[in-house]
């Protein structure tokens, strides 16, 4: 079996006295879409933030391409080629679309910002995603609709030559057409050889695009399975009770 591009082993994470993740193992493979599912509060976003260097972990290992890596800051994650679209989007309302997309990684020519190049690259990426009715890419993010903001956050993640893209409920605020577009993009990124992690509550979406499903239950990894090997009902059972027949956490 191939080594996963991104792998997490034995991850523990507590916020004060509350342990949110217990001994979590998780793998994502290059060229595949891995869906990460679980009920509200199961710990999906927390797991992603640990991988992104936002939260320090209490215990556990993160492996990238089979090697142990230290991800203690968002910069570390970016350097490895891990891009994350956070659930709360993390955009600066007072900056425009281009400025947000390049935040922290601005193109420079000498000492100054290379606005023209950034604008061109942003324009290209965005038109690939086809953002509707954005008046100008120099528009402040504050003036965008929820769905447009989400598209900007996604564009920000795919702008870079990343190797792992993690999307935390990227379609939550999107309409039917945009959702289809994002799912199409998710598939396309995986087909280009990236490891894509998709967090979603929508079982139809999960089954439509994913190759594997990882189900978190109360901070524990209930099961990691191939999508083709399970049914809707089994996954729902894994999400709601942590086990389904042979699969899941032993009682």
């Amino acid at each position: 079996m191939t080594t996963p591009l991104l792998e997490v082993r034995g991850l523990d994470k507590s916020f004060g006295p509350v342990q949110v993740l217990h001994d979590v193992a998780f793998s994502a493979y290059a060229g595949e879409v891995t869906a990460l599912v679980g009920d509200n509060g199961a710990g999906k976003s927390t797991l992603v933030k640990c991988v992104g260097g936002i939260h320090p972990v209490d215990a556990g290992r993160i492996l990238f391409d089979g090697d142990d890596v230290q991800v203690s800051t968002p910069r570390d994650a970016g350097a490895l080629g891990i891009e994350i679209v956070y659930q709360d989007l993390a955009l600066c309302d007072n900056l425009d679309i281009v400025q947000n997309m390049f935040l922290g990684r601005e193109r420079r020519s000498g000492l100054v910002l290379d606005e023209a190049t950034m604008e061109e690259m942003a324009e290209r990426t965005l038109s690939g995603l086809s953002v509707r009715s954005v008046k100008s890419i120099r528009q402040q993010v504050a003036s965008l609709s929820g769905g447009q903001r989400q598209t900007v956050a996604i564009a920000k993640a795919v702008l870079w030559n990343s190797r792992v893209v993690i999307l935390d409920e990227p379609t939550a605020a999107l309409g039917v057409a945009q959702t289809a577009q994002v799912l199409e993009l998710v598939r396309r990124l995986a087909d280009q050889g990236l490891a894509v992690v998709l967090i979603s509550h929508n079982m139809n979406d999960v089954f439509a695009v994913s190759d594997r499903i990882a189900a978190l239950y109360l901070g524990r990894m209930a099961a990691q399975v191939r999508t083709a090997d399970v049914t809707h009902a089994q996954v729902v059972e894994l999400i709601t009770s942590g086990r389904s027949g042979e699969l899941g956490i032993a009682p």
């Binding site: 007072n94 935040l103 003036s143």
Partner: protein, 419 residues
């Protein structure tokens, strides 16, 4: 697929063919949406000047016009530094007395240590930078709210000034170069030369940027808009230089008094420098980002602590320059240098100019416009022979008004879905 093409065309159609009318409409939309920028300051300036000019014709004399610049310079420079801290959503209440401490360092280095002016100036500015590092570290690394850190510094710096000035004596400044900064003028010819160079450089920068962007197929400012901008700068600045070059001595036979005050190019240089840093350099971009959403900035890999400390260093260093100007204007440093109203006037200047107290919004130019408003109030009220009591009341009201406009604009933007 056809929808994709349609969308692209919609984007392109909206993006092309900007015109002056288009820009004016976009500006109107922004104002209605609550983003008034410098508009209140400009309107306030016009109204105040009209009122004072009618009430006291002496307000419009050349000598009074020149006084406005020297009177407002120190506060304006401190306000320019404060913009950086305000952009982060933080505050520096110690900037006034930091300028006092740095002025005292200047005075002591000049007199007690007998050093030349440039050593004293560098020492004063370095003192400001060190103060900024300490304040910024306490805020960013230790995590004490800036309000408390700088309030403590506000008290402590008064003590430091008293110690440096032997519990309250004043040190007079006689060094001709330092004294010249806020009291002497450029020759009329030099004033015009500076004017010409500034206008030409401004026009050249605007034109090349537009041409470069157009060449790459990006949206560029239309020529008419650039011409309007350069034209209004040329007219307003030309008028100012003309008036400042008039003879304003009471008896021109014994002593002639003409020319642009030296503080004007000093403020201009600082304005260009910090505007460049804020708008064209990554550091400036990151200041806006941290002020807009610190968590998003952190997730983007920005070292938020470093940005915060940097902003405090700039603020305190600018306070030092403000202190030098104040010392130069008064020809001396005393325990009250940088005290009394200086800080509140400086915060007022930044806010009146359109810098938000909530962070993330503001420009260095705001501080200059707001500084002009504060200087006009101070000067006009003085001419009308109102005492300090009325001056305090009016300036306090204007500050409150500006902060109110800021808060209302924010609510309005929220209602318009812009925040």
């Amino acid at each position: 697929m056809s929808k994709l093409v349609q969308d692209k065309e919609a984007i392109i159609a909206a993006v092309q063919a900007p015109s002056i009318g288009h820009s004016a409409r976009a500006y109107g939309e922004r104002v209605r949406g609550g983003d008034m920028g410098a508009l209140p300051a400009v309107i306030g300036l016009v109204v105040l000047c009209t009122v004072f000019a009618i009430a006291r014709p002496s307000f419009l004399t050349a000598i009074n016009f020149a006084n406005l610049f020297t009177q407002g310079a120190a506060v304006t420079v401190i306000a320019m530094g404060l913009v950086f801290v305000l952009l982060l959503g933080e505050i520096d209440l110690s900037a006034g007395f930091a300028s006092g401490v740095c002025a005292a360092v200047l005075a002591v280095t000049l007199t007690d240590l007998g050093q030349p002016w440039y050593v004293a100036v560098v020492a004063a500015i370095l003192t400001g930078s060190v103060i900024g590092v300490v304040l910024g570290s306490l805020v960013a690394k230790v995590g004490i709210p800036s309000f408390v850190v700088t309030l403590a510094a506000f008290l402590a710096f008064q003590g430091v000034v008293l110690i440096m000035l032997d519990e309250g004596t004043n040190i007079s400044i006689v060094d001709p170069v330092v004294v010249a900064i806020a009291t002497k003028n450029m020759t009329p010819a030099l004033g015009w030369a500076l004017y010409a160079v500034s206008v030409v450089i401004y026009a050249a920068v605007q034109l090349t940027r537009a041409r470069r962007r157009a060449a790459r197929g990006l949206v560029a400012d239309p020529f008419s808009l650039i011409a309007a901008r350069v034209g209004s700068l040329a007219v307003i600045a030309g008028l100012a230089v003309y008036v400042l070059n008039l003879e304003r001595s009471r008896n021109p036979l014994t002593i002639s008094l003409t020319g642009v005050p030296i503080v004007v190019p000093v403020i201009l240089a600082l304005l260009v420098l910090w505007t460049f840093v804020l708008r064209r350099m990554p550091f400036g971009r990151h200041i806006y980002a941290v002020g807009g959403n610190a968590e998003a900035a952190r997730r983007a890999g920005i070292d938020v602590d470093r940005i915060k400390i940097g902003a405090f260093v700039i603020c305190s260093s600018m306070a030092a320059i403000g202190g030098i100007i104040a010392a130069s204007r008064a020809n001396s440093v005393d325990p009250n240098t940088g005290g009394s109203t200086v800080l509140l006037y400086a915060v007022g200047a930044a806010v009146i100019g359109g810098t938000s107290l909530f962070g993330g919004k503001g420009r260095v130019l705001d501080a200059v416009l707001g500084g002009a408003v504060v200087a006009v109030i101070e000067n006009g009220m003085g001419l009308m022979q109102y005492g300090s009591s009325v001056k305090y009341l009016v300036t306090g009201s204007v500050l409150l008004l500006a902060a109110g406009v800021d808060a209302l604009a924010r609510r309005r933007a929220a209602a318009a879905g812009l925040r």
